[in-house]
């Protein structure tokens, strides 16, 4: 477990937004994640890739925030892709039944390729 202050970075690649949550994903950081995604959704972006490579720990509040993003995208018929997830994170999402509501890729480029080649 690394002691990293939570932050959210993001960038736009083509028509997809890539979000980088970093550190412990809890209520405040989860809100930042929702806000960050909301900004892109507000701009008409419907494809969001969440790169979890720097997320070391998550709690149930953070998970509920992620569910909020899933719901927001679902409402606009958008797509959420999760990448670079640790086994722990994957298993946790699996445990909670979240996997069927997101697309999971090993790395960010796979998700971007998928979003480019597939007409969504």
């Amino acid at each position: 477990m690394k002691s990293v202050q939570f932050s959210v970075a993001s960038r736009l690649e083509g028509d997809a937004a890539i979000i980088y949550p970093k550190g412990y994903l809890n209520n405040l950081s989860g809100e930042s994640l929702v806000i960050e995604c909301g900004i892109y959704i507000g701009k008409g972006i419907t494809k969001i890739v969440v790169n979890f490579s720097e997320t070391d720990l998550i709690n149930s509040i953070g998970i509920s925030m992620l569910l909020q993003v899933i719901e927001d995208l679902k409402n606009i018929k958008g797509t959420i892709c999760c990448t670079n997830m640790s086994k722990f994170l994957r298993d946790t999402f699996e445990m909670l039944g979240l996997m069927q509501h997101m697309l999971v890729f090993p790395v960010e480029s796979d998700a971007l390729n998928y979003l480019k080649t597939r007409k969504l």
Binding site: M1, S3, Y24, N26, L57, I58, N59, S60, I61, I63, S64, M65, L67, Q68, I70, E71, K74, S86, K87, F88, D91, T92, M95, L96, G97, L98, Q100, H101
Partner: protein, 549 residues
Amino acid sequence: MPFNAIPAEDFLNREPELNYLKGLPKLKENALGGDVFLEGARGMGKTELLKQLYRNLFWENNVVPFYYSFKTANLKGAYFAKDYFTRFVRQYISFVKKEPSIADNVAKPLQRLMPAISSLGLYWLIDYIEDFQEHVSKNDFYWQLVAAISAPVVASRKTRKPVIVMLDDFDAAARLYDASLGDAHGLISLFGESMGNRRCPHVITGSAGALESIFTDHSLIGMTEQMRLGPLPKDLAVALFRAHLTNLKIASAPGLQFEFLDILRGNPLYIRNIAKAAWKMQKKELNEKDLIECYSFEVSKGETAFYCSSVFSSYAKNPVKRKAMLKLLMYAFENGRIEDSKRLSMVSGLGEAETETILGTMENSGIIRDKDAVFQDFIRCLFMMEIEGRNANDAREKIEAKYKSEREESCFELVIPMNYNAELVVAKAVEQIGKNINLDSEFLNFLQLALIEVCINAIEHSGSYEKKVFLKFITKPDKLEIIIENSGRPFSLESLKEVPVEEKLRIGMKRGWGYKLFHKIMDSVKVERVNDRTRVILTKDIKVKEVLQ
């Protein structure tokens, strides 16, 4: 018997006390004191110290030693007087002739000693014996007692040699009686004259509280100093145990640290009994596990159990009181305290007044105050046998299992404030604890998540004014147990309902994952309410694959 003391070289760490007691005649002659009350917990070696003193004085020849144990004495006055008198005469002749066998031969009547006394030219003693027998033939109870108790004083006066009088378990003398129990209070005060004599220092053992109520003459208490026999320090306790093992021809395993002996708190009696148990159990090379086995045997059915049983029986004489006392003691040991009798009468199954009486007896006995772990384990065994109906082997195994698992476990405690991100401190702690026992990092992530969820639950929902979460981590080779406690609103697993993700999305309810998480991660989740606190107990069995090899 004064001569059945352990070898002097095995009598450790009591030299200062022994030397001080040997110097008592000089102190008393100069009116600087001279009577000593030996104090110490059960088994601390008070009787053994008296016996060592006796043996030293016997062979040094400057002071006459006299030892009398009230433990086994017949307290009917006439019997006692005869026994006390005869033992003194026998021990005195034994001392003069330097023949220990005379002192030990209790079957030899006084008449048969007369030729020996005569050959030693102790005519004053012959006169004194005749005087005593005259009191007996006249059935003069009072003078029999006075003559018996005064015998050491008379001997010191006639020979001008001090007599050290050693009275073991002296408080029993308070129960001396004439014809029936309790018919002659205060006979013990007849010892006052003897104790006040300048040539007869007295060394007595017994209960301090009892002695205060015995002597109406407070000047006697004033001139009696207390000498406390403390436990043997750890190194000497180990040395004594090793000496016993050597005598019994038992080796100890290479590198054995004897850590388990700490539980005996340097008590020489317990130390000796464990060594003897090892011999009885035919141990050839002792290791830590063997020590636990010997100990469990001792507290369940060994000599220690026998000894503790006699102590316990002296406080709980009838079966009803015995059972009630066992229940109360167990309650006190488990809870670390005795509460009000109103509540405890439910535990004892007796009325409030009777419970109060038993609690008073327990308080005076010092059983709880002493915090003697050995005696507590004996009581646990007795409870299992007499209340729960288990057999001695079963009780022994339970005690054994308790210590074997305790040796292998470690415990950490942590208190966190109900502050933002405080749960991360817990996550960090469990990470290090897990590393200490070589758990793999992925498994640790799940443990962290489970704990974070319980802590968040407490922080968010308890409404606690205390604003603290108390955590205890107990690690065992095959199990990790985490106990989380906080005050505030009760929390129950029954009140929680699992909602599927689809349903959560449909109804817009995104919270409520915590329960599902810690339930899925841990093997067992228990929630209890203890007074005003909610206690969550998380248990995880550690499988081989979860441990880094």
